[in-house]
Subunit: 257 residues, 2 copies
């Protein structure tokens, strides 16, 4: 699969809880799925703790070397929520209160609004709010909470339920801006073990240089011992590559439905 012309992406996961094993990371997979479906190449995922210099260095590096950088985590109201200020520093810009976010927060908490709530209205100067219609939001609308984008850096929350809401906004943005292309996928399952199909697999790999082919052993699955995946922008090519392997593997091999 040619990747030279595809937009690229990186994901920066922020939070001590990921590095101490306190929680199972849950945001990478849904973002990766969305980007993959849109033909955007997620090239690198980096996890760092709540350490300003680690976040800042990773932001700078990943932002410069990818079309998009997504960050996850560290945007709440507490002492360990330092993502906004550190990203602002990496971008060389101050932190300011975004008037639309402030209005949304005051509208939600009314007279109970605290300084801690208002910390969540802070953004790097120049950041825009992306809405669920795929466009920049200019006025507060209580029915939706927008996503913060600073240049090519999308600053997402770490709480998985909140993160997934932002993915809906990103999907609309990519669609509206015509970014990427749809990818097509097939998977072939077989009871033959991985090491026994290598020669046949290599034959298909050589025959279909424009199809990305992956092979995954399953140890304790009664339904198959090896899964081979095929991905490319051209659906007929993907199907042809999967069919070619099935012919070589014999009657046990089948397309995963």
């Amino acid at each position: 699969m040619s990747s030279s012309s595809r937009p690229t992406a990186a994901l920066l996961l922020i939070g001590n809880e990921l590095l101490s094993g306190k929680i199972q990371e849950a945001n990478q997979k849904p973002l990766a799925e969305l980007l993959f479906r849109r033909g955007i190449l997620l090239r690198r995922v980096v996890t760092v703790g709540d350490v300003p210099e680690d976040i800042q260095l990773a932001t700078l590096e990943l932002k410069q070397t990818h079309t998009y950088l997504f960050t996850s985590g560290g945007v709440g109201p507490t002492h360990d929520d330092i993502t906004i200020e550190v990203i602002a520093k990496a971008l060389g810009t101050p932190v300011v209160t975004h008037p639309v976010l402030e209005e949304l927060i005051r509208g939600r908490y009314k007279e109970r609004t605290t300084e801690s709530h208002l910390r969540m209205a802070m953004v790097p100067r120049g950041a825009v709010l992306e809405g669920s219609n795929g466009a920049v939001i200019e006025t507060a609308d209580a029915s939706e909470w927008p996503a913060v984008r600073a240049d090519n850096v999308w600053i997402f929350p770490g709480v998985p339920e909140a993160f997934r809401m932002k993915l809906g906004i990103l999907a609309e943005y990519l669609k509206r801006h015509g970014v990427g292309h749809a990818m097509h996928s097939r998977a072939v399952l077989t009871q033959i073990e991985e090491s026994a199909i290598v020669d046949r697999l290599n034959e298909v790999v050589a025959q279909f240089p424009n199809v990305s082919i992956g092979s995954y052993p399953k140890w304790f699955d009664p339904n198959h011992r090896t899964k081979v995946t095929f991905d490319a922008e051209d659906e007929s090519l993907v199907q042809a590559a999967a069919d070619a392997l099935i012919r070589l593997l014999g009657p046990d091999a089948r397309i995963q439905s």
Copy 2:
């Protein structure tokens, strides 16, 4: 929590399937838990695809800047399993067949042994095999499959069932070599929302500089809305910090059992 004297670690996850969202990553959390329990600071996790230059650059950088580097993935028999050769290149050493691994493989597959099987006996020259007794293995023993360590790089398989077996070996190694210290943890649960406890939380953070304190909102959990975690090498300090927060939060707050 002072981190200057603690051994550090990085994890390099290798595989296109992680970046395309085909599978949920499952190795980071159990490794992170083990390292955390031993007081080893996991500082960074990087995920790259099956791309030689990405693996090589990440290996070089992470190996030089951490006490330990663990890699996961890309060590099977197929075309996309390139971890061993790329790590060898990063270490400036050729790939050789390890005689003990070859013996183990031939013992398992007997006359069915193929070239593909034997690819799994390849290691960077100078690599050693670590066994489940916490020491280097010099002779083949069919009852156990050792872990490959090349200098400070532990090369683990990506299949989660296999990865977890290697963690048992690592745990014995760390114990036998007296690496790290046990960490102690407490968690406080409350129904009060995170933004409403910030002032009280900051008070405890300031009072206990040697305790690592994290705060995590839960959106859809009926049992608590905020969880605050406390970690340090000194158990009495951890307990004192948790007790201090409970006193400030009032009767609803409680230690997670």
